[in-house]
């Protein structure tokens, strides 16, 4: 009978594939399920891509930036972004190039006016050798992604009042702006985890004390606190130490929310049936904490961390903006935005607001990623 043939146990390739997929789902641990769910969240996936690109560029910052932090060009102060051309005036195709620049003053307003010198053509070269730098302080190199021949100038995002290339400074500033939150959250993570666990596990007066401390810290307005703390940083210390001290200041406030999450999760998980089953089986308290409780709230912690990073980015930016954070010669997005403090500057040189766009992109990306993580955090629901 033909009908019998259809129902024979021979599986088609499609069915076999489906079965394999099902099997891998059954064998998937919590993290695998989370990754699977996160991959389905389109916005989070997109944000992860954006963040990946941002961090990649920050990691190889000296390579992507045509210039470095210390070099400046007195003849090209406040220059607007350089236009990139492909075809010359007479219709000749030469690939990407820039024209030479000439500066004139407006006879009436004395305002600087930059014009393109159509005679001089500087093609953009890729993988050029320019200023030498030390990558991560280890490898000596002078390779840059792009540059122009001697005599030409390329400022993708324009320059500042000292003639420094804004594009390079944004990239090099991201090395600070994007890593401080990580170092800061790492510190708050440790503080929050330890203090939250102690609070949730022991309860009683210790719990009470820690909760009150959290409340006091939360009630302090953060800006004055930052100002007070950074006033305590001695002037003229090297940038690396400065950087570390600022992370400590930021995490000093960041841990409180985390500690509360940990404590709450600890208390609710303590009453789960499987924890009681483990206790009845004679499993020791320490083992219960590390085998059942900590893995139970780890995913929530990561969500909280991710959602906490944006506020750290903004925190660093505002501190630097107010002149309390990173000091020259080091730079960050906040320091760059300091140039845009005056309204005339924004009106005359609007490109100085470009760092703001990067702050917004990074903050939004972290928020979307955190959103996706939150949806994926409990894959069993």
């Amino acid at each position: 009978m033909s009908e019998n043939l259809q129902t024979s146990p021979k599986l088609t390739r499609k069915q076999l594939k489906a079965k394999k997929k099902e099997e891998s789902y059954y064998l998937a641990s919590q993290w695998q399920l989370m990754a699977h769910k996160l991959a389905k969240h389109k916005l989070a996936r997109f944000s992860m891509m954006i963040l990946g690109i941002l961090y990649f560029i920050a990691l190889f910052g000296n390579f992507f930036a045509p210039s470095d932090l210390t070099s400046y060009d007195g003849s090209s102060k406040d220059m607007p972004p350089t236009a990139i051309h492909w075809i010359t005036e007479d219709g000749r195709f030469v690939g990407p190039f820039v024209y030479g620049a000439t500066m004139e003053r407006d006879p009436k307003t004395y305002k600087k006016v930059f014009a393109e010198d159509k005679e001089k053509i500087y093609p953009i070269r890729f993988f050029t050798h320019g200023k030498s730098y030390q990558w991560l302080g280890l490898i000596e190199s002078d390779l840059h992604l792009f540059g122009v021949d001697e005599g030409g100038k390329i400022f993708l995002f324009g320059t500042d009042s000292m003639g420094r290339d804004l594009f390079s400074r944004i990239i090099l500033g991201s090395q600070v702006s994007l890593t401080i939150p990580f170092a800061g959250t790492f510190l708050s993570f440790i503080l929050g985890l330890v203090l939250g666990s102690i609070s949730g596990y022991f309860g009683g007066w210790i719990d009470n004390l820690i909760q009150r401390i959290i409340e006091v810290l939360n009630s302090l307005p953060s800006l004055p606190l930052w100002m007070a703390l950074s006033a305590a940083i001695p002037a003229g210390i090297p940038p690396v130490q400065m950087y570390l001290l600022i992370t400590v200041i930021l995490s000093f406030i960041g841990w409180t929310g985390l500690a509360r999450v940990v404590r709450g999760k600890f208390m609710s998980l303590k009453n789960e049936d499987y924890v009681m089953a483990a206790r009845l089986a004679g499993v020791s308290d320490i083992k219960i904490i590390f085998k059942h409780l900590v893995p139970g709230f780890m995913s929530y912690l990561i969500v909280n961390l991710t959602l906490g990073i944006p506020s750290m980015i903004i925190g660093e930016t505002s501190m630097s903006f107010l002149g309390l954070g990173i000091q020259a010669p080091a730079t960050s997005w906040g320091v760059l935005l300091k140039d845009a403090q005056q309204i005339q500057n924004i009106a005359n040189y609007p490109w100085r607001l470009l760092p703001l766009i990067f702050v917004v992109i990074a903050v939004l990306a972290f928020n979307f990623l955190g959103d996706g993580l939150r949806d994926a955090a409990d894959p069993y629901k």
Binding site: M1, E3, N4, Q6, T7
Partner: protein
């Protein structure tokens, strides 16, 4: 003319993994004053069927088939064709068809008093007059046996016990004198003594209002007490449908037989073992043709049951069953 006549109702949900068909071709009808029991285990589609009648299923659910409802103006409307957010369905929902839920504790908002919440329903459907609606509300609260109704009117849900809340929920469902009451596991969350009270209350009110009741449950005991007719569902299909006494005395479908065998009838001598159906209910995902119960059936006919969908056939006296084996035996007898 039945109050509600459901014909070939299907509910589909498109998932990434494939097509989920929690309800496939359900048909039944209920007349005024009758109680129909919809019995089945979790995941058999009984709740989705009831939600389809009120058109409150999720947007992702695609419904086909007909749900013919006779309104109080004696017109017949197909609920499936109405706009689920339209005026017509809102007039039917709550006023002509109402529903009681399983968990009375979560059916009320903790922010408003009980009286306030029942009153909302009255004001929406019956009268805009504040005084009159409050009187109506108090009347219905007394009717469902809430003692001290005036005082209770101003109390909040947390001041009520579970049984009292379920009474209040019934009051809310009945304040508009609906033609059809859907009771989705109304007593599952309650204790036995309170369950008995609630069931009795429902029966009394049914007599008084002559309404039809769709009683959804997995508990064979309450069905025996409450229902005139029973439809047994398995994997989205009605597998057996008959008068309640017929189903209990002479279950025909192997699934119904298994279900009856797996509960111990209280007050009878002990059997050593309960009859149990092997395996578990499969997910209604990408269903193959043939009887849904095939894998777990102890009376299956290979080559027939797993190939052809069994249809619901009348075995005489209104006792319908969807089983190839039963049909075969019936024809042999003739």
């Amino acid at each position: 003319m039945p109050i509600i006549d459901i014909k070939d109702l299907c509910v589909n949900i498109q998932l990434d993994e494939g097509m989920l068909t929690p309800v496939q071709g359900v048909s039944f009808q209920i007349e005024a004053g009758q109680t129909m029991g919809l019995v089945g285990e979790s995941g058999c589609g009984k709740s989705l069927t009831s939600k389809a009648i009120l058109a409150i299923n999720d947007k992702k659910c695609r419904q086909t088939g007909e749900i013919l409802f006779e309104t109080d103006k004696h017109e017949v409307v197909d609920i499936n064709k109405l706009n689920p957010r339209g005026k017509e369905i809102r007039d039917i929902r709550g006023r002509q068809i109402s529903m009681i839920f399983q968990e009375p504790m979560v059916a009320f908002s903790p922010m408003y008093t009980i009286g306030n919440q029942i009153n909302e329903c009255t004001r929406l459907h019956i009268t805009k007059d504040k005084k009159q609606s409050k009187e109506l509300t108090l009347e219905v609260m007394k009717k469902v046996g809430i003692a001290n109704a005036e005082k209770r009117y101003d109390q909040f849900p947390h001041e009520f016990s579970g049984g009292m809340l379920q009474r209040a929920l019934i009051a809310m469902a009945l304040v508009c004198k609906p033609r059809l009451l859907i009771a989705d596991e109304p007593t599952t969350a309650l204790d036995v003594t309170i369950q008995a009270q609630i069931l009795e209350l429902m029966q009394e009110l049914q007599k008084e209002l002559n309404m039809a009741i769709l009683f959804i449950t997995h508990d064979l005991g309450t069905v025996a007490k409450m229902c005139d007719y029973v439809s047994v569902m398995y994997l989205g299909r009605v597998v057996e449908s008959a008068r309640a006494c017929d189903v209990y005395k002479r279950p025909l479908h192997p699934y119904t037989q298994g279900l009856m065998g797996s509960v111990h009838k209280i007050g009878t001598l002990k059997q050593e073992r309960l009859f149990s159906i092997e395996g578990t209910v499969p997910l209604a995902l990408n269903l193959k043709p043939g009887c849904g119960f095939y894998d777990r059936c102890n009376q299956r006919i290979e080559g027939l049951c797993n190939v052809v969908d069994p249809e619901l056939c009348d075995m005489g006296d209104g006792h319908c069953v969807a089983c190839h084996r039963c049909k075969k035996e019936a024809t042999v007898h003739e």
